[in-house]
Symmetry: C2
Subunit: 288 residues, 2 copies
């Protein structure tokens, strides 16, 4: 099943304790697409929707020298991205899956409205939109099936310190499922209360892989989202078990993303490596 993703394509300059890279390919849509592509038959990424605009590409420069969980931004040059206005190619219009990466919620909403056939919509956001653009964000959340954000963001969005209470408050804003990413500690999937007659879905926690060396965490969250949503979109039917598997595949793709700079690792994986790591995640968490 096709997924449409709306988000940034960028150049990133990154420094971590493992070294540095100048202007490598980045952006949320890039990481997401690469990760999700492993769950399609032909690793197909339809790039017709990538817009080429006059001017410089979005550029980000950052480092993770003190804390690998927290990027320090040095430069953000929006460039052509400042005037970005998503245009959905007609060939995308029948996508049943839509991922709204971290962009202005006004644009996220517009895209969602332009894709009425999407039957499952997932999205991301960040502290900036939560803090200064909450009304627009709340409109997006109403239409979302799955929101994927991190601990800090869920607490900020809900205004509650306790994770379970915060998750419940965010689910009440609209999404039927919420993935809270905990960085090196994995991620937790919360579901809204089941509708009448439906089987309730249980909270699920996926681990992250304890990595010997985190080379570059840039894009780990978007790669998680790509693995998670890519797996779901490939299922003939989405059950509670599909969600649990999707959490594992999300975590698997996030772990790979951290192993090299930029998209390096994400570009050269094989489905065998992915399934082998999935097995490792199972051994890491399962009693038998």
């Amino acid at each position: 099943m096709a997924i449409t993703v709306v988000g940034s394509v960028a150049f990133d300059s990154i420094e971590t304790p493992a070294g540095k890279r100048k202007r490598c390919l980045g952006g949320a849509a890039t990481y997401f697409s690469l990760a999700a592509s492993y769950f399609t038959k032909a690793r197909g990424i339809d790039m017709r929707g990538i817009e080429r605009a006059k001017g410089k590409s979005f550029f980000w420069e950052g480092s993770y020298m003190d804390d690998l969980n927290q990027a320090k931004t040095h430069i953000t040059d929006l460039n052509v991205f400042a005037a970005f206005e998503p245009k959905i190619p007609e060939v995308y219009a029948d996508s049943e899956f839509l991922f709204l990466a971290n962009i202005d919620p006004v644009l996220q909403r517009r895209v969602r409205e332009a894709m009425p056939k999407a039957r499952m919509v997932a999205g991301d956001t960040m502290n900036y939109w939560i803090k200064d653009h909450k009304p627009a964000l709340l409109e997006v959340l109403k239409e979302l099936d799955v929101l994927l954000i991190n601990d800090t963001e869920v607490r900020m969005l809900a205004g509650k310190d306790n994770l379970v209470q915060a998750a419940r408050a965010v689910l009440a804003m609209g999404p039927s499922s919420l993935v809270v990413k905990h960085g090196e500690y994995g991620a937790t999937l919360f579901h809204a209360a089941a509708a009448k007659g439906e089987q309730p879905k249980q909270t699920f926690r996926a681990p992250a892989l304890p990595l010997d060396e985190v080379v570059d965490p840039t894009g780990a969250g978007d790669s998680f989202a790509g693995g998670f949503f890519g797996y779901l979109a490939a299922q003939p039917e989405i059950t509670a078990a599909s969600y649990r598997n999707a959490m594992f595949y999300g975590s698997v793709m996030g772990s790979f993303a951290c192993e090299r700079f930029g998209t390096e690792r994400m570009q050269e994986l094989s489905r065998e490596e992915i399934d082998q790591r999935f097995k490792l995640f199972r051994e890491l968490t399962h009693l038998d």
Copy 2:
């Protein structure tokens, strides 16, 4: 199989966002014993080894107002504990399991030497001993089967930021297994490389329960240790699978400890509640 525990018995005054308690029963040995007792046939705690000394008991006053993961200490009155010199009753001498709770490593070592029949020894420590008493602590580690400490402590002890590298360095100091506690994110069990001809034991991550309300985290780590070691001591044979189950039982007991002030919850549990929660932990993490 009997466990001997050496550690503090104390009075704690605690304040958390959920309220406050004055002088409730606390201390590492108290939490550990209560938690471990659920894994014995008759919930027996042999208190003949509790020493009554002239003077006031160890007293701690602290709060968790800003961050439930981090206690703020207001008062530590060691009182009679300052001159504590463990005396092992003769009836304890045949214990095959020994838990060295967080006390002066010089005393931990002395106890270990006084219990030559102990075939499995686990222990805890804290930043203070790591920072200012490292040589004595290193002597203890040489003789330890399992060390249970938190993220910050393992990084401090190893002098490495990366958790996997830090764990490997700590295992090289002596313990054959290392449990790293991550607070609300659970705990990870690392094993030293297998000896020749032995089956290697794999890294294992147990979750913590996402709790709606953390009433009081005091004693959660010692309750984890009690559940972990109590379960192991009750097994006819200790296998790789026993370790995994022990991690779950540790996490289960830690989650209960947080639900009420002090030892309140730890005193009134049933084995049925414990096994029910164990089942919940399985559902929280297992794919099928």
